[in-house]
Protein backbone atom coordinates (compact mmCIF):
# COMPACT_ATOMS: atom_id res chain seq x y z
CA UNK A 1 0.00 0.00 0.00
CA UNK A 2 1.24 3.45 -0.87
CA UNK A 3 -0.88 6.60 -0.91
CA UNK A 4 0.37 10.01 -1.96
CA UNK A 5 -1.47 13.04 -0.62
CA UNK A 6 -1.05 16.62 -1.76
CA UNK A 7 -2.52 19.20 0.64
CA UNK A 8 -2.86 22.66 -0.86
CA UNK A 9 -4.57 25.94 -0.14
CA UNK A 10 -3.86 29.48 0.99
CA UNK A 11 -1.42 30.45 3.73
CA UNK A 12 -3.31 30.65 7.04
CA UNK A 13 -5.83 27.88 6.43
CA UNK A 14 -3.58 25.42 8.21
CA UNK A 15 -3.12 22.92 5.39
CA UNK A 16 0.52 22.37 6.37
CA UNK A 17 -0.50 21.62 9.96
CA UNK A 18 -3.18 19.30 8.64
CA UNK A 19 -0.58 17.41 6.59
CA UNK A 20 1.69 17.14 9.61
CA UNK A 21 -1.04 15.86 11.96
CA UNK A 22 -2.19 13.43 9.28
CA UNK A 23 1.32 12.01 8.84
CA UNK A 24 1.84 11.77 12.60
CA UNK A 25 -1.44 9.89 12.96
CA UNK A 26 -0.27 7.40 10.33
CA UNK A 27 3.07 6.85 12.08
CA UNK A 28 2.00 6.77 15.72
CA UNK A 29 -1.57 5.55 15.36
CA UNK A 30 -1.43 3.13 12.46
CA UNK A 31 2.17 1.98 12.67
CA UNK A 32 2.71 2.96 9.05
CA UNK A 33 5.61 4.73 7.43
CA UNK A 34 5.14 8.36 6.38
CA UNK A 35 7.17 11.15 4.85
CA UNK A 36 6.09 14.77 4.90
CA UNK A 37 7.58 17.65 2.94
CA UNK A 38 6.36 21.16 2.36
CA UNK A 39 7.09 24.13 0.15
CA UNK A 40 9.10 26.82 1.88
CA UNK A 41 9.95 30.26 0.64
CA UNK A 42 8.22 33.45 -0.42
CA UNK A 43 5.25 31.74 -2.05
CA UNK A 44 4.42 30.01 1.26
CA UNK A 45 4.02 33.41 2.97
CA UNK A 46 0.48 34.53 2.30
CA UNK A 47 0.50 32.94 -1.12
CA UNK A 48 -0.14 29.32 -1.89
CA UNK A 49 0.61 26.65 0.70
CA UNK A 50 1.51 23.09 -0.22
CA UNK A 51 2.52 20.02 1.70
CA UNK A 52 3.13 16.49 0.42
CA UNK A 53 2.50 13.40 2.53
CA UNK A 54 3.31 9.86 1.45
CA UNK A 55 1.94 7.04 3.59
CA UNK A 56 3.01 3.44 2.98
CA UNK A 57 3.43 0.08 4.62
CA UNK A 58 6.98 -0.12 3.28
CA UNK A 59 10.04 2.06 2.85
CA UNK A 60 9.58 5.41 1.12
CA UNK A 61 12.56 6.65 -0.86
CA UNK A 62 11.55 9.53 -3.09
CA UNK A 63 9.81 11.92 -0.67
CA UNK A 64 8.01 14.30 -3.04
CA UNK A 65 4.57 13.84 -4.54
CA UNK A 66 4.60 14.30 -8.31
CA UNK A 67 1.24 12.63 -9.00
CA UNK A 68 -1.05 12.50 -5.96
CA UNK A 69 -3.55 9.71 -5.34
CA UNK A 70 -5.44 12.22 -3.24
CA UNK A 71 -5.37 15.93 -3.98
CA UNK A 72 -6.87 18.39 -1.51
CA UNK A 73 -7.35 21.97 -2.71
CA UNK A 74 -8.70 24.75 -0.52
CA UNK A 75 -8.06 27.56 -2.99
CA UNK A 76 -8.78 28.17 -6.66
CA UNK A 77 -5.12 28.95 -7.31
CA UNK A 78 -4.08 25.59 -5.89
CA UNK A 79 -6.80 23.76 -7.78
CA UNK A 80 -5.89 25.36 -11.11
CA UNK A 81 -2.24 24.53 -10.56
CA UNK A 82 -2.38 21.03 -9.12
CA UNK A 83 -5.53 19.38 -10.43
CA UNK A 84 -3.85 18.21 -13.67
CA UNK A 85 -1.34 16.25 -11.55
CA UNK A 86 -3.78 13.77 -10.02
CA UNK A 87 -3.16 10.13 -10.87
CA UNK A 88 -5.70 8.46 -13.10
CA UNK A 89 -8.18 6.88 -10.70
CA UNK A 90 -7.22 9.33 -7.97
CA UNK A 91 -9.41 11.67 -5.98
CA UNK A 92 -9.65 15.45 -5.92
CA UNK A 93 -11.23 16.93 -2.79
CA UNK A 94 -12.34 20.55 -2.85
CA UNK A 95 -14.59 22.90 -0.92
CA UNK A 96 -17.19 24.61 -3.15
CA UNK A 97 -16.77 27.81 -1.12
CA UNK A 98 -13.20 28.20 -2.40
CA UNK A 99 -13.04 26.22 -5.62
CA UNK A 100 -15.01 26.17 -8.82
CA UNK A 101 -14.15 22.85 -10.40
CA UNK A 102 -13.43 22.36 -14.03
CA UNK A 103 -14.01 19.02 -15.68
CA UNK A 104 -11.64 16.15 -15.13
CA UNK A 105 -12.35 12.78 -16.59
CA UNK A 106 -9.41 10.87 -15.14
CA UNK A 107 -10.03 11.44 -11.43
CA UNK A 108 -12.98 11.35 -9.12
CA UNK A 109 -14.04 14.65 -7.60
CA UNK A 110 -15.51 15.19 -4.15
CA UNK A 111 -16.92 18.42 -2.81
CA UNK A 112 -17.15 18.93 0.94
CA UNK A 113 -18.61 22.10 2.51
CA UNK A 114 -15.79 22.52 5.05
CA UNK A 115 -15.98 26.29 5.18
CA UNK A 116 -19.70 26.33 5.79
CA UNK A 117 -19.39 23.69 8.49
CA UNK A 118 -16.56 25.34 10.38
CA UNK A 119 -18.14 28.78 10.25
CA UNK A 120 -21.34 27.32 11.73
CA UNK A 121 -19.33 25.49 14.38
CA UNK A 122 -17.31 28.55 15.36
CA UNK A 123 -20.39 30.79 15.48
CA UNK A 124 -19.67 34.44 16.33
CA UNK A 125 -19.43 36.83 13.39
CA UNK A 126 -19.25 34.01 10.89
CA UNK A 127 -15.74 34.95 9.77
CA UNK A 128 -13.56 32.57 11.76
CA UNK A 129 -12.44 29.49 9.88
CA UNK A 130 -10.15 28.34 12.68
CA UNK A 131 -10.17 24.54 12.71
CA UNK A 132 -11.00 24.11 9.03
CA UNK A 133 -7.87 22.02 8.66
CA UNK A 134 -8.92 19.57 11.37
CA UNK A 135 -12.42 19.46 9.90
CA UNK A 136 -10.74 18.44 6.66
CA UNK A 137 -8.83 15.64 8.39
CA UNK A 138 -12.00 14.33 10.01
CA UNK A 139 -13.61 14.12 6.60
CA UNK A 140 -10.50 12.58 5.08
CA UNK A 141 -10.42 9.77 7.63
CA UNK A 142 -13.87 8.70 6.47
CA UNK A 143 -13.18 9.09 2.77
CA UNK A 144 -9.72 7.53 2.47
CA UNK A 145 -9.47 4.70 4.99
CA UNK A 146 -5.74 4.95 5.67
CA UNK A 147 -5.80 6.81 8.97
CA UNK A 148 -8.61 6.13 11.42
CA UNK A 149 -10.53 8.85 13.28
CA UNK A 150 -9.11 7.45 16.56
CA UNK A 151 -5.52 7.85 15.35
CA UNK A 152 -6.27 11.40 14.26
CA UNK A 153 -7.90 12.12 17.62
CA UNK A 154 -4.72 10.99 19.38
CA UNK A 155 -2.51 12.92 16.97
CA UNK A 156 -4.47 16.13 17.64
CA UNK A 157 -4.13 15.61 21.39
CA UNK A 158 -0.40 15.10 20.92
CA UNK A 159 0.22 18.08 18.70
CA UNK A 160 -1.83 20.90 20.24
CA UNK A 161 -1.39 22.59 23.62
CA UNK A 162 -4.28 22.21 26.08
CA UNK A 163 -5.91 25.55 25.29
CA UNK A 164 -6.43 24.64 21.62
CA UNK A 165 -7.09 20.94 22.06
CA UNK A 166 -10.84 20.91 22.64
CA UNK A 167 -11.61 23.21 19.75
CA UNK A 168 -9.55 21.18 17.31
CA UNK A 169 -11.12 17.93 18.46
CA UNK A 170 -14.57 19.42 17.91
CA UNK A 171 -13.59 20.44 14.39
CA UNK A 172 -12.24 16.95 13.74
CA UNK A 173 -15.48 15.41 14.95
CA UNK A 174 -17.51 17.80 12.79
CA UNK A 175 -15.48 16.63 9.78
CA UNK A 176 -16.19 12.98 10.44
CA UNK A 177 -19.95 13.47 10.74
CA UNK A 178 -19.98 15.85 7.79
CA UNK A 179 -18.95 13.09 5.42
CA UNK A 180 -21.93 10.95 6.26
CA UNK A 181 -24.33 13.77 5.45
CA UNK A 182 -22.89 16.31 3.07
CA UNK A 183 -20.45 14.97 0.48
CA UNK A 184 -21.17 15.51 -3.17
CA UNK A 185 -19.47 13.17 -5.59
CA UNK A 186 -19.06 13.81 -9.30
Amino acid sequence: MIQRFLFSGTGGQGVITAALVFAEAAVFGEGLNAVQTQVYGPEARGGSARSDVIIADREIWFPKVLQPNVLICLSQLAYDRFSPLVRPGGVTITDPFYVTRWQHATSRALEIPLHETIVALNGGDGLSIQGINMCLLGALSRLIPVVSPESLHNAVERRFPARHRERNLQALEAGTTLVRERVTTF
Binding site: N33, Q36, Y40, A56, F62, P63
Partner: protein, 392 residues
Amino acid sequence: MTPTGTVTPTGTGTLHFLQGNEVCAEAAVYAGMRFYAGYPITPSTEIAERLAWRLPQVGGTCIQMEDEIGSLCSVIGASLTGLKGMTATSGPGYSLMQEAVGYAIMAEVPLVIVDVQRGGPSTGLPTHASQGDVMQVRWGTHGDHAIVCLSASTHQDLFEIMIRAFNVSETFRTPVVVLIDEIVGHMREPVRIPDAGEFELTERLLTSVPRDVDYHPYFPREDGRLPMSHFGGEHRYNVTGLYHDMWGFPSDDPRVTNDLIHHLMNKLENRKRDLTFTKEWYTDDAEIMLISYGASARSARHIMEDRRAVGMRMGLIELQTLWPFPGELVRERCRQANYVVVVEMNMGQIVHEVKTAVDRPERVFLANRVDGEMITPVDIKHLVRVIQGKGI
Protein backbone atom coordinates in the same frame (compact mmCIF):
# COMPACT_ATOMS: atom_id res chain seq x y z
CA MET B 1 6.22 5.31 22.54
CA THR B 2 6.74 1.94 20.90
CA PRO B 3 6.57 1.45 17.18
CA THR B 4 3.68 -0.77 16.16
CA GLY B 5 4.30 -1.28 12.47
CA THR B 6 6.77 -3.27 10.49
CA VAL B 7 8.36 -0.49 8.53
CA THR B 8 8.90 2.18 11.10
CA PRO B 9 12.28 1.94 12.80
CA THR B 10 12.28 -0.76 15.44
CA GLY B 11 14.31 -1.47 18.52
CA THR B 12 14.66 0.23 21.83
CA GLY B 13 14.45 3.96 22.29
CA THR B 14 11.67 6.31 21.31
CA LEU B 15 9.95 6.80 18.00
CA HIS B 16 9.71 10.35 16.69
CA PHE B 17 8.48 12.08 13.55
CA LEU B 18 11.05 14.79 12.93
CA GLN B 19 12.71 17.02 10.37
CA GLY B 20 16.27 16.13 9.41
CA ASN B 21 17.44 19.35 11.03
CA GLU B 22 15.82 18.33 14.31
CA VAL B 23 17.47 14.93 14.03
CA CYS B 24 20.86 16.66 13.72
CA ALA B 25 20.16 18.56 16.92
CA GLU B 26 18.96 15.50 18.84
CA ALA B 27 21.91 13.40 17.68
CA ALA B 28 24.34 16.13 18.70
CA VAL B 29 22.84 16.25 22.20
CA TYR B 30 23.03 12.44 22.33
CA ALA B 31 26.70 12.61 21.30
CA GLY B 32 27.44 14.90 24.22
CA MET B 33 27.59 18.21 22.37
CA ARG B 34 27.11 20.95 24.97
CA PHE B 35 28.05 24.14 23.13
CA TYR B 36 26.28 25.44 20.05
CA ALA B 37 26.93 28.83 18.47
CA GLY B 38 25.29 29.74 15.21
CA TYR B 39 23.71 32.35 13.03
CA PRO B 40 20.33 31.22 11.70
CA ILE B 41 20.12 30.65 7.96
CA THR B 42 17.58 28.84 5.82
CA PRO B 43 17.46 25.86 5.40
CA SER B 44 19.40 25.06 8.60
CA THR B 45 17.50 27.25 11.08
CA GLU B 46 15.59 24.44 12.80
CA ILE B 47 18.88 23.08 14.15
CA ALA B 48 19.49 26.27 16.12
CA GLU B 49 15.81 26.47 17.04
CA ARG B 50 15.75 22.97 18.53
CA LEU B 51 19.07 23.36 20.30
CA ALA B 52 17.96 26.64 21.88
CA TRP B 53 15.28 24.52 23.54
CA ARG B 54 17.24 21.31 24.13
CA LEU B 55 20.67 22.44 25.29
CA PRO B 56 19.49 24.30 28.43
CA GLN B 57 17.69 21.08 29.46
CA VAL B 58 20.98 19.19 29.56
CA GLY B 59 23.12 21.98 31.00
CA GLY B 60 24.53 23.08 27.67
CA THR B 61 24.83 26.50 26.06
CA CYS B 62 23.26 27.76 22.86
CA ILE B 63 24.26 31.19 21.59
CA GLN B 64 23.04 33.16 18.60
CA MET B 65 26.15 34.95 17.39
CA GLU B 66 26.46 38.12 15.33
CA ASP B 67 27.48 36.18 12.24
CA GLU B 68 28.93 32.89 10.98
CA ILE B 69 32.52 34.00 11.51
CA GLY B 70 31.86 34.60 15.19
CA SER B 71 29.89 31.38 15.39
CA LEU B 72 32.68 29.07 14.32
CA CYS B 73 35.32 31.04 16.23
CA SER B 74 33.38 30.69 19.47
CA VAL B 75 32.92 26.96 18.87
CA ILE B 76 36.71 26.69 18.47
CA GLY B 77 37.14 28.45 21.81
CA ALA B 78 34.56 26.29 23.56
CA SER B 79 36.10 23.14 22.17
CA LEU B 80 39.59 24.07 23.34
CA THR B 81 38.27 24.60 26.85
CA GLY B 82 36.80 21.11 26.90
CA LEU B 83 33.27 21.04 25.47
CA LYS B 84 32.08 19.21 22.41
CA GLY B 85 31.02 22.04 20.13
CA MET B 86 29.03 22.45 16.97
CA THR B 87 27.66 25.03 14.56
CA ALA B 88 25.21 24.74 11.68
CA THR B 89 24.77 26.84 8.59
CA SER B 90 24.13 26.76 4.86
CA GLY B 91 26.40 27.49 1.88
CA PRO B 92 26.62 31.29 2.22
CA GLY B 93 27.36 31.03 5.94
CA TYR B 94 29.85 28.27 5.36
CA SER B 95 31.71 30.55 2.93
CA LEU B 96 32.14 33.04 5.77
CA MET B 97 33.45 30.31 8.06
CA GLN B 98 36.32 29.26 5.77
CA GLU B 99 39.06 31.17 7.57
CA ALA B 100 38.07 29.62 10.89
CA VAL B 101 37.82 26.17 9.30
CA GLY B 102 41.46 26.47 8.29
CA TYR B 103 42.35 27.62 11.79
CA ALA B 104 40.57 24.63 13.35
CA ILE B 105 42.43 22.29 10.98
CA MET B 106 45.80 23.88 11.75
CA ALA B 107 45.22 24.15 15.50
CA GLU B 108 43.68 20.64 15.51
CA VAL B 109 40.44 21.57 17.23
CA PRO B 110 37.68 18.94 17.32
CA LEU B 111 34.29 20.31 16.29
CA VAL B 112 31.36 19.56 14.00
CA ILE B 113 29.89 21.82 11.32
CA VAL B 114 26.53 20.96 9.75
CA ASP B 115 26.09 22.46 6.28
CA VAL B 116 22.50 22.20 5.06
CA GLN B 117 23.02 22.98 1.40
CA ARG B 118 20.89 25.36 -0.64
CA GLY B 119 21.28 26.61 -4.19
CA GLY B 120 24.30 28.83 -4.88
CA PRO B 121 26.47 30.74 -5.66
CA SER B 122 25.94 33.65 -3.27
CA THR B 123 22.57 33.86 -1.48
CA GLY B 124 21.22 31.74 -4.34
CA LEU B 125 18.10 29.71 -3.67
CA PRO B 126 17.45 29.71 0.09
CA THR B 127 14.51 27.34 0.13
CA HIS B 128 15.42 24.92 -2.61
CA ALA B 129 17.49 21.78 -2.99
CA SER B 130 21.09 21.69 -4.13
CA GLN B 131 24.28 19.77 -3.46
CA GLY B 132 26.63 22.46 -4.67
CA ASP B 133 28.85 22.65 -1.57
CA VAL B 134 30.73 19.37 -2.00
CA MET B 135 33.84 21.05 -3.37
CA GLN B 136 33.51 24.00 -1.03
CA VAL B 137 33.80 21.55 1.84
CA ARG B 138 36.87 19.98 0.25
CA TRP B 139 38.74 23.08 -0.83
CA GLY B 140 36.90 26.05 0.69
CA THR B 141 39.70 27.00 3.01
CA HIS B 142 43.10 27.81 1.55
CA GLY B 143 46.26 25.77 1.64
CA ASP B 144 46.86 22.04 1.56
CA HIS B 145 44.70 20.23 4.06
CA ALA B 146 42.66 17.13 4.68
CA ILE B 147 39.03 17.29 5.76
CA VAL B 148 36.36 14.84 6.84
CA CYS B 149 32.90 15.21 5.31
CA LEU B 150 29.99 12.86 6.05
CA SER B 151 26.49 12.75 4.61
CA ALA B 152 23.23 10.82 5.00
CA SER B 153 19.97 10.34 3.13
CA THR B 154 17.57 9.01 5.78
CA HIS B 155 16.89 10.32 9.25
CA GLN B 156 17.91 7.08 10.95
CA ASP B 157 21.25 7.15 9.11
CA LEU B 158 21.61 10.85 9.83
CA PHE B 159 21.33 10.23 13.57
CA GLU B 160 24.16 7.70 13.41
CA ILE B 161 26.29 9.80 11.06
CA MET B 162 26.07 12.76 13.43
CA ILE B 163 27.37 10.61 16.27
CA ARG B 164 30.16 9.30 14.05
CA ALA B 165 31.02 12.88 13.13
CA PHE B 166 31.58 13.74 16.79
CA ASN B 167 33.52 10.51 17.36
CA VAL B 168 35.79 11.15 14.37
CA SER B 169 36.37 14.77 15.36
CA GLU B 170 37.35 13.77 18.90
CA THR B 171 39.52 10.85 17.77
CA PHE B 172 41.48 12.80 15.19
CA ARG B 173 41.22 16.33 16.63
CA THR B 174 39.77 17.67 13.43
CA PRO B 175 36.74 19.59 12.24
CA VAL B 176 34.16 17.30 10.65
CA VAL B 177 31.55 18.60 8.21
CA VAL B 178 28.15 16.91 8.04
CA LEU B 179 26.82 17.81 4.62
CA ILE B 180 23.08 17.46 4.13
CA ASP B 181 20.68 19.35 1.90
CA GLU B 182 17.38 21.20 1.97
CA ILE B 183 15.40 18.01 1.28
CA VAL B 184 16.87 15.93 4.09
CA GLY B 185 16.93 18.96 6.40
CA HIS B 186 13.29 19.90 6.00
CA MET B 187 11.69 16.54 5.32
CA ARG B 188 9.91 14.76 8.17
CA GLU B 189 10.00 10.99 8.59
CA PRO B 190 10.00 8.51 11.48
CA VAL B 191 13.23 8.20 13.41
CA ARG B 192 14.11 6.13 16.43
CA ILE B 193 16.18 7.94 19.01
CA PRO B 194 18.06 5.16 20.80
CA ASP B 195 18.45 4.85 24.55
CA ALA B 196 21.63 6.23 26.05
CA GLY B 197 24.49 3.77 25.75
CA GLU B 198 23.40 2.15 22.50
CA PHE B 199 25.97 4.06 20.50
CA GLU B 200 29.54 4.21 21.64
CA LEU B 201 30.68 7.78 22.17
CA THR B 202 34.31 8.84 21.84
CA GLU B 203 35.21 11.13 24.68
CA ARG B 204 38.07 13.56 24.61
CA LEU B 205 41.54 12.15 25.15
CA LEU B 206 43.10 14.17 27.94
CA THR B 207 46.76 14.33 28.81
CA SER B 208 48.03 12.46 31.85
CA VAL B 209 50.83 14.99 32.27
CA PRO B 210 50.43 16.55 35.72
CA ARG B 211 50.22 20.27 36.42
CA ASP B 212 53.53 22.19 36.25
CA VAL B 213 55.12 19.48 34.13
CA ASP B 214 56.06 20.35 30.54
CA TYR B 215 53.04 19.48 28.34
CA HIS B 216 53.37 19.23 24.56
CA PRO B 217 49.96 19.92 23.05
CA TYR B 218 51.17 19.17 19.52
CA PHE B 219 53.35 16.14 20.11
CA PRO B 220 51.49 13.10 18.70
CA ARG B 221 51.49 9.81 20.57
CA GLU B 222 52.62 6.67 18.75
CA ASP B 223 49.07 6.09 17.47
CA GLY B 224 49.00 9.63 16.08
CA ARG B 225 46.52 10.99 18.63
CA LEU B 226 47.17 14.21 20.51
CA PRO B 227 46.05 14.24 24.16
CA MET B 228 44.46 17.59 25.01
CA SER B 229 44.46 19.77 28.07
CA HIS B 230 41.54 22.12 28.71
CA PHE B 231 42.75 25.52 27.57
CA GLY B 232 43.06 27.87 30.55
CA GLY B 233 43.26 24.91 32.94
CA GLU B 234 46.17 22.84 34.19
CA HIS B 235 48.70 23.76 31.54
CA ARG B 236 49.78 26.91 29.76
CA TYR B 237 50.26 26.50 26.04
CA ASN B 238 49.91 28.37 22.79
CA VAL B 239 47.34 27.90 20.02
CA THR B 240 47.99 29.47 16.63
CA GLY B 241 47.12 29.25 12.97
CA LEU B 242 50.80 29.62 12.11
CA TYR B 243 53.03 26.61 11.56
CA HIS B 244 54.02 25.61 15.07
CA ASP B 245 56.26 23.33 17.11
CA MET B 246 55.15 20.76 19.68
CA TRP B 247 54.48 23.49 22.28
CA GLY B 248 52.22 25.30 19.85
CA PHE B 249 54.63 28.22 19.34
CA PRO B 250 55.12 29.61 15.82
CA SER B 251 57.98 28.14 13.87
CA ASP B 252 59.28 28.53 10.32
CA ASP B 253 61.85 25.78 10.67
CA PRO B 254 61.57 23.82 7.37
CA ARG B 255 61.68 20.50 9.22
CA VAL B 256 58.93 21.50 11.66
CA THR B 257 56.86 22.86 8.78
CA ASN B 258 57.33 19.73 6.69
CA ASP B 259 56.47 17.42 9.58
CA LEU B 260 53.34 19.35 10.52
CA ILE B 261 51.78 19.50 7.04
CA HIS B 262 52.46 15.78 6.59
CA HIS B 263 50.96 15.06 10.00
CA LEU B 264 47.82 17.06 9.21
CA MET B 265 47.32 15.27 5.91
CA ASN B 266 48.33 11.77 6.96
CA LYS B 267 46.29 11.59 10.13
CA LEU B 268 43.19 11.47 7.93
CA GLU B 269 44.34 10.29 4.50
CA ASN B 270 46.16 7.28 5.99
CA ARG B 271 43.06 6.25 7.92
CA LYS B 272 40.63 6.33 5.04
CA ARG B 273 39.51 2.82 5.92
CA ASP B 274 38.32 3.88 9.39
CA LEU B 275 36.67 6.95 7.92
CA THR B 276 34.83 5.32 5.02
CA PHE B 277 31.11 4.79 5.58
CA THR B 278 28.98 3.58 2.67
CA LYS B 279 25.75 1.71 2.05
CA GLU B 280 25.63 -0.67 -0.89
CA TRP B 281 22.88 -2.45 -2.79
CA TYR B 282 23.47 -5.14 -5.43
CA THR B 283 27.07 -4.09 -6.00
CA ASP B 284 28.02 -7.72 -6.68
CA ASP B 285 26.13 -8.10 -9.95
CA ALA B 286 25.30 -4.56 -11.07
CA GLU B 287 25.73 -3.76 -14.73
CA ILE B 288 24.62 -0.20 -14.13
CA MET B 289 26.08 1.21 -10.94
CA LEU B 290 24.56 4.32 -9.41
CA ILE B 291 26.69 6.38 -7.04
CA SER B 292 24.96 9.00 -4.96
CA TYR B 293 24.70 10.69 -1.56
CA GLY B 294 22.26 12.78 0.47
CA ALA B 295 18.75 13.36 -0.87
CA SER B 296 19.82 12.29 -4.39
CA ALA B 297 20.50 8.83 -3.02
CA ARG B 298 16.80 8.51 -2.14
CA SER B 299 15.87 9.01 -5.79
CA ALA B 300 18.66 6.66 -6.85
CA ARG B 301 17.41 3.99 -4.42
CA HIS B 302 13.86 4.47 -5.71
CA ILE B 303 14.76 3.92 -9.37
CA MET B 304 17.14 1.09 -8.50
CA GLU B 305 14.40 -0.88 -6.70
CA ASP B 306 12.02 -0.04 -9.53
CA ARG B 307 14.39 -1.28 -12.26
CA ARG B 308 15.39 -4.35 -10.27
CA ALA B 309 11.73 -5.31 -10.21
CA VAL B 310 11.75 -5.49 -14.02
CA GLY B 311 14.98 -7.46 -14.13
CA MET B 312 17.53 -4.74 -14.83
CA ARG B 313 20.81 -5.31 -13.01
CA MET B 314 21.20 -1.96 -11.35
CA GLY B 315 23.15 -1.33 -8.14
CA LEU B 316 23.78 1.59 -5.83
CA ILE B 317 26.61 2.86 -3.70
CA GLU B 318 25.48 5.52 -1.26
CA LEU B 319 28.49 7.50 -0.11
CA GLN B 320 28.18 8.51 3.52
CA THR B 321 31.80 9.61 3.51
CA LEU B 322 32.47 12.17 0.80
CA TRP B 323 35.89 13.29 2.08
CA PRO B 324 38.38 11.72 2.21
CA PHE B 325 36.93 10.27 -0.99
CA PRO B 326 36.79 6.45 -0.84
CA GLY B 327 38.36 6.04 -4.28
CA GLU B 328 39.65 2.49 -3.82
CA LEU B 329 36.26 1.21 -2.73
CA VAL B 330 34.55 2.91 -5.68
CA ARG B 331 37.11 1.46 -8.11
CA GLU B 332 36.68 -2.02 -6.67
CA ARG B 333 32.86 -1.99 -6.74
CA CYS B 334 32.61 -0.50 -10.24
CA ARG B 335 35.02 -2.93 -11.88
CA GLN B 336 32.24 -5.19 -13.24
CA ALA B 337 29.79 -2.44 -14.17
CA ASN B 338 29.18 -1.50 -17.79
CA TYR B 339 28.14 2.00 -16.82
CA VAL B 340 28.54 4.14 -13.73
CA VAL B 341 25.99 6.90 -13.17
CA VAL B 342 26.71 9.53 -10.54
CA VAL B 343 23.52 11.14 -9.23
CA GLU B 344 23.93 14.56 -7.65
CA MET B 345 22.20 17.94 -7.60
CA ASN B 346 24.99 20.14 -8.95
CA MET B 347 26.87 20.69 -12.22
CA GLY B 348 29.10 17.71 -11.45
CA GLN B 349 31.36 17.59 -8.39
CA ILE B 350 31.68 14.02 -7.04
CA VAL B 351 31.50 12.74 -10.64
CA HIS B 352 35.07 13.95 -11.21
CA GLU B 353 36.31 12.03 -8.18
CA VAL B 354 34.58 8.92 -9.49
CA LYS B 355 36.13 9.39 -12.94
CA THR B 356 39.55 9.66 -11.31
CA ALA B 357 38.94 6.54 -9.23
CA VAL B 358 37.57 4.04 -11.75
CA ASP B 359 39.44 2.05 -14.40
CA ARG B 360 37.27 3.25 -17.30
CA PRO B 361 36.37 6.91 -16.76
CA GLU B 362 34.71 7.12 -20.19
CA ARG B 363 31.95 4.89 -18.77
CA VAL B 364 31.07 7.38 -16.02
CA PHE B 365 28.00 9.58 -16.55
CA LEU B 366 26.36 12.35 -14.58
CA ALA B 367 22.64 12.42 -13.77
CA ASN B 368 22.05 15.83 -12.30
CA ARG B 369 19.49 18.53 -11.76
CA VAL B 370 20.24 22.14 -10.91
CA ASP B 371 16.88 23.93 -11.09
CA GLY B 372 16.24 23.86 -7.34
CA GLU B 373 13.89 20.89 -7.60
CA MET B 374 14.83 17.50 -6.24
CA ILE B 375 16.13 15.10 -8.88
CA THR B 376 13.42 12.50 -9.53
CA PRO B 377 13.74 8.75 -10.13
CA VAL B 378 12.38 9.37 -13.65
CA ASP B 379 15.19 11.86 -14.37
CA ILE B 380 17.68 9.09 -13.62
CA LYS B 381 15.73 6.54 -15.61
CA HIS B 382 15.74 8.77 -18.69
CA LEU B 383 19.50 9.23 -18.53
CA VAL B 384 20.06 5.49 -18.15
CA ARG B 385 17.85 4.80 -21.17
CA VAL B 386 19.78 7.32 -23.25
CA ILE B 387 23.09 5.74 -22.22
CA GLN B 388 21.76 2.34 -23.21
CA GLY B 389 20.69 3.70 -26.58
CA LYS B 390 17.02 3.00 -25.89
CA GLY B 391 15.85 6.60 -26.22
CA ILE B 392 13.53 8.32 -23.80
